[in-house]
């Protein structure tokens, strides 16, 4: 860079650390609060240093749950969220990659209309068709089921478009070569196209997993049984309207636990995550 004197760099370092502090502060408070005594917090006397109730609070949160409105342990909620997120990520990738394969590598009647039918679903979030979708899921007897939690969220086209774009860049010679080797459509897909798509699939998986894990409005509507609750829904139910009853250390421990898997995925797979994000938004 040009004329970057030392003093300017210090300014940059300082601004970045301030930014990081702002971004991290709420989480710091949550971690601290999750180790403290409820009575102390309820009095507005929370200290900014860790308390001594770490194991107690987390044990209660994961295995017992609050004693108030929801009695479901958070461990179970996390399991539900995990299943939902995995179903959404894997399901969306699976149905998208095969339909993109059909659209790119085959010519068949109604190919373009089918492509458009899929394309139109792009970016219209489930929130805007929430009640009719709810009714359909109810009619299909899928309330309180993993299928009901995941299928309506799988119904959009982002992944299909991504794979389509990627397949268009795969050189034709590859198909010709594998055809000379006597490979049919299945063999070509399995032995050539799938391995080539590995990084795309992984990047997409990261994004979709986070998307699924963080769903809120949809699971809020379609789960009525406590044992089918996801962690995002559970955490809101823990905040009771009459504040005195809210067990804040448990709530904060739940918030920390709810953040762990997606934040871990983002940090561990930073490169793939950034790539997936930039590609899906294109």
């Amino acid at each position: 860079m040009v004329e970057e004197e030392g003093s300017r760099r210090y300014v940059a370092h300082i601004i970045l650390w301030i930014g990081i502090a702002i971004v991290a502060f709420p989480v710091y408070i949550a971690i601290i609060a999750s180790t403290q005594d409820n009575a102390l917090i309820a009095n507005g006397q929370m200290s900014l240093l860790p308390g001594g109730h770490f194991f107690e609070v987390y044990y209660q949160t994961i295995f017992v749950g609050t004693s108030g409105s929801t009695r479901e342990p958070v461990g179970n909620m996390m399991l539900n969220s995990l299943v939902m997120a995995l179903l959404i990520a894997v399901g969306k990738i699976a149905i998208s990659i095969i339909s993109a394969y059909a659209i790119v590598y085959f010519r068949f009647p109604f190919r373009m209309p089918i492509f458009w039918i899929i394309f139109i679903t792009l970016m219209l979030p489930v929130e805007v068709r929430i009640y009719p979708t709810y009714k359909i899921v109810a009619d299909l007897h899928m309330l309180d089921s993993y299928a009901g939690l995941s299928l309506p969220l799988i119904a959009s086209a982002t992944a299909t478009l991504l794979f389509r774009q990627f397949f268009m860049t795969v050189p034709d010679e590859l198909l010709e070569a594998s055809r000379i080797d006597g490979a049919g459509p299945f063999r070509f897909f399995w032995d050539t196209l799938l391995p080539l798509s590995r990084t795309n699939m992984a990047a997409l998986f990261v994004i979709l997993f986070i998307l699924g894990w963080n769903q809120y409005l949809w699971p809020l509507l379609i789960t009525t049984r406590d044992d089918m609750q996801t962690i995002q829904v559970g955490i809101r139910k823990m905040i009771t309207t009459t504040d005195a009853l809210t067990e804040w250390p448990v709530v904060m421990a739940t918030a920390v636990l709810a953040m762990l898997p997606p934040v871990f995925v983002v940090v561990a797979m930073q490169k793939l995550f950034v790539r997936g994000l930039v590609e899906t938004e294109k």
Binding site: V2, G19, P26, V27, G44, L124, L175, L221
Partner: protein, 293 residues
Amino acid sequence: MQKQAIFQAKLLPYALVAPQLAVVLIFFYWPAAQAVIQSFLLQDAFGLSTSFVWFENYLDLFRDPAYFEAIVRTFFFSFAIAVSSLSFALLLAVMADKPLRGSMLYRTLLIWPYAVAPPVVGVLWIFMLHPSLGVLSRYLRAMGVDWNPLLDGNQAASLIILAAAWKQISYNFLFFLAGLQAIPKSVFEAAAIDGARPMRRFWTVTFPLLSPTIFFLLVVNIVYAFFDTFGIIDTMTRGGPGTSTVTLVYKVYSDGLLGGNLGSSAAQSVILMVMVIVLTGIQFRFVERKVTY
């Protein structure tokens, strides 16, 4: 664009698109169509009879001052969230774009809030700024602010905006950083040779070259503020106090679920759909231009 090398098969392609088509038709088109139909129906209070009323639900909405307020509020929230989050993220991205030691660490420490779910964001911020037990409320009161977002509508609104903007910083930061890194460094060098100081270089060189990214992010942020703030609002204020934090999506939810007014809720959904389609359309046209750019 079409592939030259293709397979010949009659039924296989249909089998391959079938799962996606089935899911999309059942869980996307059917409910979307239902929403449109429902928006033309009026149901009595007990759900016993329905009648076709054409655009009455829509007209009722536009005659309802509460709906008008929700529109204005949603746009105001979106604008406030986008501007505050974008400007802070841009500042951080410009800093992180400099050749600093530990820049990868900075990046990692700044991007993870992307992964925090909206309701969790809501819980974190309501806890910090809770009127009686919040850590930050103490300082606000010490400064003489009569802080109680559970009673004061404006304070509740600013709390929502603050939390929603906080969550969006990391996302904007990532795209700004990518945008900055795509600008050739020689452009800056040329400007520096011409004697432009750093601030001036930013406004005359960086900012205009970054404008496609800024515009793209503006649209994405507005869509985010429309939909993803639902979880934040629902955990922090549940639309209150009064209706001071009821946005369009929150109103669809509360009118339909709590009010049981499905016709009106459906009409609101349809209006939202049209808004998203328009926004998406703008974004697409813009992305097309970016490709050739």
